[in-house]
Symmetry: C2
Subunit: 246 residues, 2 copies
């Protein structure tokens, strides 16, 4: 492996990727000690501080662990590190091995309710774009989503084809709105007549009801969405961690 110090890619990053590859490929095995920081720095022809940055990031990412005075070691393959990934329906379904589909039932600019105005931190004259979609997995209806997005963040959104393109893709790529995190509430409910008919289930069938408020990096709210999942077709998975207050 050659480090290219003319490359715009930082040296620490090139080294990090090289070490990560050696871990993933099995060249370094779980609980192996990797060479000392000094040796690695010499091997890559860089300073120890730079090498240390590569290793530190791999430690933070869970690939390595350090023991003071002993060395740096390869971690055991870790539990999936995603707590609960913030993904759109398309990505979620694709990952589960289904073919996603969408039918736009409604898309228009509307005046926000007071609740919406407060949740999305809207100014007086701001409107929102309301998008109601029925979503499919392998052509079977699975979920209804009512999404509300401030118009000023994506003025042309109303003309997008959201049956083909993922909403999150459009927000990220066209409007450069990088979604970062979300607060989500979930509860069990039952289908009323309307929901039941749209989803093709019996009235009174169990539904997983979700409210989600999505934020950009700087805690700017960007989307509020209400979701009804068919209880017989959807399981939500999440990893819980012991609370560590930083």
């Amino acid at each position: 492996m050659r480090i290219n110090d003319q490359s715009p890619v930082p040296i620490y990053f090139q080294i990090k990727e090289d070490l990560k590859q050696k871990i993933i490929s099995g060249h370094y095995k779980p609980n192996d000690r990797i060479p000392s920081e000094e040796d690695l720095a010499e091997h890559y022809g860089t300073s120890r501080m730079t090498l240390r940055r590569s290793v530190t990031e791999l430690v933070e990412d869970g690939y390595l662990y350090r023991v003071h005075g002993k060395g740096t070691f390869v971690s055991k393959p870790r539990i999936e590190r995603s707590y609960a990934p913030l993904t759109g329906f398309m990505q979620d379904m694709t990952k589960r091995g289904f073919i996603p589909g969408a039918k736009v039932l409604e898309i228009k600019e509307v005046q926000p309710s007071p609740k919406l105005r407060s949740l999305l931190e809207l100014e007086k004259n701001n409107t929102v774009i309301k998008i109601v979609r029925l979503r499919y997995a392998n052509e079977e209806p699975i979920v209804i989503q009512n999404a509300f997005i401030p118009t000023f963040l994506c003025p042309e959104l109303i003309h997008e084809n959201l049956e083909v393109n993922s909403l999150y893709d459009v927000l990220e790529n066209k409007y450069k709105l990088e979604l970062f995190c979300a607060k989500q509430k979930m509860e069990a409910t039952v289908a009323n007549k309307n929901l039941a008919e749209t989803l093709g289930v019996k009235k009174g069938s169990p539904l997983l009801y979700v409210e989600r408020l999505t934020f950009l990096k700087n805690n700017i709210p960007v989307e509020y969405v209400e979701i009804w999942y068919r209880g017989d077709r959807y399981v939500f998975e999440v990893n819980l961690f012991k609370h560590w207050d930083k």
Copy 2:
């Protein structure tokens, strides 16, 4: 603020705590630009590299954000950083402002099913302790829990009073089993006759069904639990983060 370079507490850490205090106290306000790294380094009488470490950690913790070429800024008060805290029912209810209660419907040592044996990674002769409890919030029944715990991890558990003591407290304090993380699946279902009678709701009422597998630090499974929450009385909250596959 004085930096003590004789202290065993590293300089970067002392600076980090001082800056954090200035943010929390409001001395630096959200979206304020803090002084440049060079100025701060001079102010604290340290090198820029050391100062940078303090700032980097505050960025990672969500207190600050950097903009290349512009400066370093204070974040808006962040969303609660717990993704989803791993807590028992008692702690959960207390935090929500309810008075928790419990009635043990069943507690005994049983042979594990093949599914349980696999999930809890049990050896041939291991048994499990099965605990069925009805849980109350303000004396109203809210949830039924079936918990399964390997007997060898807590041999005397069967004699504990789990109507008064929190199961997680007993595991952590008496058996020194420090719970670390859990994988949880959630879906919507409806109450059958048995569940409905026990929870005091109508048959066909919505229930939030949860399966949880809890682990110790070293990925040793310690508890499997099935939970049925009343859909009309319980909302699950979780924070989602953009999936960053490292």
